[in-house]
Symmetry: C2
Amino acid sequence: MKLTTFSDYALRVLMYAGAAGDRLVTIEETARVYRISQSHLMKVVNVLTNAGYLRGVRGRSGGFTLARRPEEINLGAVVRVTETDFALVECFTQSNECLISSRCRLPRLLNKALAAFISTFDDYTLADIMLSEQDFAQSAPPRIAGDAPTSPARSD
Amino acid sequence: MKLTTFSDYALRVLMYAGAAGDRLVTIEETARVYRISQSHLMKVVNVLTNAGYLRGVRGRSGGFTLARRPEEINLGAVVRVTETDFALVECFTQSNECLISSRCRLPRLLNKALAAFISTFDDYTLADIMLSEQDFAQSAPPRIAGDAPTSPARSD
C-alpha cells in the first residue's frame, strides 16, 4: 500500500513551513532540504495554497508560509485534499475492466478500510508532527537557508 | 492511496476459487475471467499456495482450489501476506533520501493509520465477500470454463 507522492510531499511541505514559523520559505529551498523535485513541489504548494493551508507572497524575496496555526491544520483534512487518487484497486478507476464489479463486495470493505486509514489522521494536527527549524538544519548536508543572513547562496 | 496489484489479484483469485467450490480452476481461466495477466497471476497463486490458502493439483487436468473453507480464510491475514510492500512513503523504503527521517514523527502516525486499514480486514473472512459461480458466468463475455463438461476449450 502506498500514499500518493503528492500527499507525502504535502505533509513534508507543511512540516517545513511550520518549522520556519513566520519566515517565508521557497519551493527551491524546500526541494533542496528534502532532495525532491521542484516541479512536483510547485503543484503541491499550489494545492495547499488554494486549500488555505499555505499563504504565498509573490516577488523576489517571496515565498510561502503557513496560513493557519499548526494546531489548526487537521491532518485528516489535508490528506482528504491531497489524496485525490483514492483508487485503491482497479475497479475504483475509470479504466476498470473487472467483470464482477457490479456484484463484487470487495469495494465496500476497501472503502471501510480506507475510511479507517484516513480517520487516523483526523486525530492529529500539524502541531503533533512538527519539528523545529533546528531539526532540519542538523539534517541538511549542504546548507539550509534558515539561518542565512540575507541572500543565501544558491549554488548546488 | 493504492493497494498493491498483488493484493488486489490475490483477493480476486480467492474469490474466484471460492466460487468454483470443489472444481479445480486454472490460472488461464482466472486470468481470462478478470482480463488480467497470467504471468502476474502465477506469482499470486504461488504465494497463496505457499501460505496455505490454495491447494494446487498438478497435471494436465490440474489446477487449484481453496485449501480451507472460505470462513476460515481471514482477509486481514491474507492482506498481511500479500501486502509485502508496506512502503507507505519514501522513508519506509531502502532508497530513502529524506533528511529528517531520524527525527520525523510522521512514520508513527502512518503506521497507526496502516494498522487501522489492515485491521478492518481482520473482521472479515472470504465468506463475507464470496460470489457464486453464477455471478462470474453472467459477467463473462467470452466463455467461462465453469459449466463446461470435461475439457474446456483453450483457444483465445
